[in-house]
Symmetry: C2
Subunit: 376 residues, 2 copies
């Protein structure tokens, strides 16, 4: 909680859940990334929070942008980024969207298979491509499925195909899993990447770039290492596997850039028990899985929640959202401890909610409005 957010909430009282993002925190986070990895370019993952104020701030600070769709490319350009600072980082693109991106000036595309390479070659001729490789997400709180990337032994073939089709086989990318709490997880992926660099060099193709992905954590309930620790660990691993021929590197922080910059103010709608004998209370908030807190899916992200009575005794609660959907339960398997004096109508503050909240909100499930957002 920053003083600026506290002041904003005090000065602008209103009903309904709302997110407030403090740009000062985003600025500090950008500088921490830039300091921790001085030779690495930062591509902010727009999907984490595409608020125009955030994009404009980052564009002004010199950030580049990792985008998932044409709409996100347009947002980045509107915020002041030139197209050479934009990467179309989604490995799943309609060919006509690639053509639109190309028309907008974008020249850097992610791929993970031959069919996608062919689309890029047709719709964005001569562009740079990087191939995403599969990477085991152990240690991440939001581990990645096998959805993105190909097996490392296929990556060289994919990039060789790109080269043959007149594209620039530019590099590799991987992702160690979102909210990755172990800085050493980059080491294994860098070792594998170095092997692919060598393999392609033997085929006469010199890769130039390594995209180290995102995964940098934000602080929820558990302590996380500072970004400097990540930077040092990654640099040591780069040195270990690439010697004195370290390629150009980029990172794609999203959660790590904006997660701790935002706080959601929500309201307790109901507190009840299911039977007279229950010792666990059910606490229902006016925000749930469908209007902002989608990342509580499978109780993966556990947000810190502050109340006005945190000094009181605590008791176990099941925490749920306001909708008529039974899956709209935030924490039940592992009950949440909240003050026993918490009352219906009380405001609560949900911390670390600057990333993956606003755009995850549904258009109006159960008639509830999307999450309101203020960037200050």
């Amino acid at each position: 909680m920053t003083d600026r957010i506290k002041q904003f909430l005090a000065d602008n009282r209103e009903d309904g859940p709302r997110l407030v993002v403090d740009l000062d925190v985003v600025r500090d986070n950008y500088r921490s990334f830039a300091d921790a990895l001085p030779d690495t370019r930062v591509f902010y993952a727009v999907k984490a929070n595409p608020a125009p104020e955030i994009l404009s701030l980052l564009a002004g600070l010199g950030s580049c942008f990792d985008t998932a769709s044409v709409a996100e490319i347009e947002l980045a350009l509107a915020a002041g980024a030139s197209p050479d600072r934009v990467s179309f980082g989604n490995t799943i693109k309609k060919e006509k969207d690639i053509a639109r991106a190309f028309a907008l000036g974008v020249r850097l595309y992610a791929v993970d298979c031959g069919a996608e390479v062919e689309k890029v070659a047709r719709a964005a001729p001569g562009s740079k491509v990087f191939c995403r490789i599969l990477c085991d997400g152990a240690g991440a709180e939001w581990p990645l499925s096998r959805k993105f990337g190909c097996a490392p032994d296929m990556a060289a073939d994919v990039l060789e195909r790109a080269h043959a089709l007149g594209l620039v086989a530019h590099g590799l990318s991987f992702h160690v899993g979102s909210q990755q709490r172990n800085p050493r997880m980059w080491n294994r992926a860098l070792q594998v990447s170095a092997g692919i660099f060598r393999d392609l060099a033997e085929r006469g193709i010199q890769l130039a770039m390594l995209n180290l992905g995102g995964g940098f954590p934000t602080r929820y309930l558990k302590r996380v290492a500072p970004v400097q620790t990540y930077g040092q660990s990654i640099f040591r691993a780069l040195r270990r596997h690439f010697g004195n021929r370290i390629p150009e590197t980029i990172i794609e922080p999203g959660r790590g850039m904006v997660g701790d910059a935002g706080i959601i103010e929500a309201e307790v709608v109901l507190i009840s028990k299911k039977s007279q004998q229950d010792h666990v209370r059910w606490v229902y908030l006016d925000i749930g899985k469908f209007n902002g807190l989608a990342e509580t899916m499978d109780e993966m992200i556990r947000y810190p929640i502050r109340t006005d009575c945190d000094a009181e005794a605590l008791g176990p609660c099941v925490l749920a959202g306001p909708s008529c959907d039974s899956v709209d339960v935030l924490y039940e398997k592992d009950p949440y401890l909240l003050p026993v004096t918490l009352e219906i109508g009380a405001k609560v503050l949900i911390e670390g909610t600057g990333a993956y909240t606003t755009t995850y909100s549904t258009v109006g499930f159960n008639g509830f409005a999307p999450l309101k957002s203020y960037v200050i």
Copy 2:
């Protein structure tokens, strides 16, 4: 697939996923419910699909409406329903929303605990309340958590409290789980309900109404019994437990009313393999968990998918959405069989998507637009 939808899709080609709902099917479904349970009032669950055309059709046919929020109440009234045909069926309501509903003329409210009764007594004095009881959701494909309802032995106390506060202790409700495939699941809940009716009668309070909830299934891949079978089974159970003093009954179909009335047309964006050795293809569509198919969460709802080459040989696929989110995978644990000749750019039809798709769509996750919807 109806001829009208087929014609609409042929006459109106466009890019991007889109839902088309055929009102003729909704009309047929309403009549099936009315015929199957002739003494039961139908309260359409607006949350399933709040499209104004659907609400207007149902209002004209005489349907009542189960609503989850003030916004849904306003939609039902705008569609032509008088306030006495509207139930505020969410057990989790802000007191000021109860007051707004009361001002709009709504006089029927769901409760499941003493605190909610007190809110209704203050904000909607003299109204009717029904108490939701917990019910084991065995047999349902979208089983309910313990989020709604209280233990049956608490319900009489909750309703007695309502009576003491000047409300009308009107009845009980339960829900046997969404997409409930066993018509006999209503029997146990009715037995428990009859016990609570007797208990309250002994305390001098005569309940008048039984809300049998929703749960009526729509046809996905597995065959489901016709609504007549549900009607007969429920009527026999009512007779068994209430004898010749069957109370007024209502049902709240949502999925069963609109599920099979809608079809989503989507496009194959990419087909790939993760390694040369894989025998499972990854098929990526332009629709996923965040722009319409949220009910594939945990692979719970398995939609039938039609292609133009369904007569060809089939092969196993992991099916995934277009976003950069790794959880946006539709079916992986149990791979989906699709034609081996399916190609990138092909259109596919996802059946049974009239319910719980449009409003579950996010406002713009990854820059993808919400699901487009056409009601014809």
